[in-house]
């Protein structure tokens, strides 16, 4: 993957041959996992963590009121990302969906972090040496790190352009 840039009215990132379908299938796998997830699923837990660490009533109430909306929003933007990745040799994202793309990349990385057992900052730092070459997760580490770099380039352009994301009702723009 190549760095995001803003060009010709949209956010764009070039994809090397084969990357689009590969990443699209990764996103598709996440969508399937979430669709079939039971309430204890670790990936689901990464996308919708408990809204309280010590008060089950608060967490349950939040899940009942807002959990569906949070997951629906994540699902919709993952579907959009998957379809754009599958489309060709460039990822093209309209301005008003750039934040959703950044969020979707976060979700993909949160899910990969479950598979890679990244639970602490130290885990993340030590990731390069964590799995042997014969472990299939070694390749996932490369994908995880590439997606982190890629998202960083997107955030850089979002900030430079002061692209508005979903905002708090009534919030002032700072």
């Amino acid at each position: 993957v190549r760095a995001f840039r803003h060009d010709d009215g949209a956010y764009r990132a070039a994809l090397d041959p084969g990357e689009g379908p590969l990443l699209a299938s990764l996103v598709d796998g996440l969508l399937e996992r979430v669709a079939g997830a039971g309430p204890q699923d670790a990936v689901l837990g990464a996308l919708l963590p408990p809204a309280s660490r010590d008060d089950e009533e608060v967490a349950a109430e939040f899940r009942r009121l807002a959990g569906g909306d949070v997951l629906d929003a994540k699902n919709a933007r993952l579907v959009a990302l998957r379809d754009r990745l599958a489309a060709g040799d460039e990822l093209v994202v309209p301005d008003d969906e750039a934040w959703a793309t950044a969020g979707a990349l976060t979700d993909v990385r949160l899910a990969l972090a479950v598979a890679l057992e990244v639970r602490t900052d130290d885990d993340a730092t030590a990731l390069d040496d964590r799995f042997g070459d014969d472990d299939p997760r070694a390749e996932l580490v490369l994908v995880y790190e590439a997606l982190g770099w890629w998202q960083e380039t997107l955030v850089h352009v979002l900030v430079r352009r002061a692209e508005p994301g979903p905002s708090r009702p009534g919030a002032a723009r700072g």
Binding site: D55, L65, G103, T106, A113, E152, G165, R168, A171
Partner: protein, 96 residues
Amino acid sequence: MPDLTVEEAVEAGAAAATASPWVTIVWNDPVNLMSYVAAVFRTYFGYPEAKAEKLMLQVHHEGRAVVSAGGRERMEVDVAAMQTYGLWATLQRSDA
């Protein structure tokens, strides 16, 4: 990282929070990029760059930061927004 009491976290994060019944807390996680977290605080809350950066660093170094304070329903909206952005957010009573 230091294990702050909630009172200390509230004090450090939002001076006005002690007067509000509930707070939204964002927790450190090993996945989210520091640049992304700061950008989320800016675009969602409308916080100035310096405040967003300070809160992000507090999350990173102290493990958590109080990012907003208010009534429970308002905090549920903020937590839902933070979680939609992919951050780990919780709500709790400010005196809990």
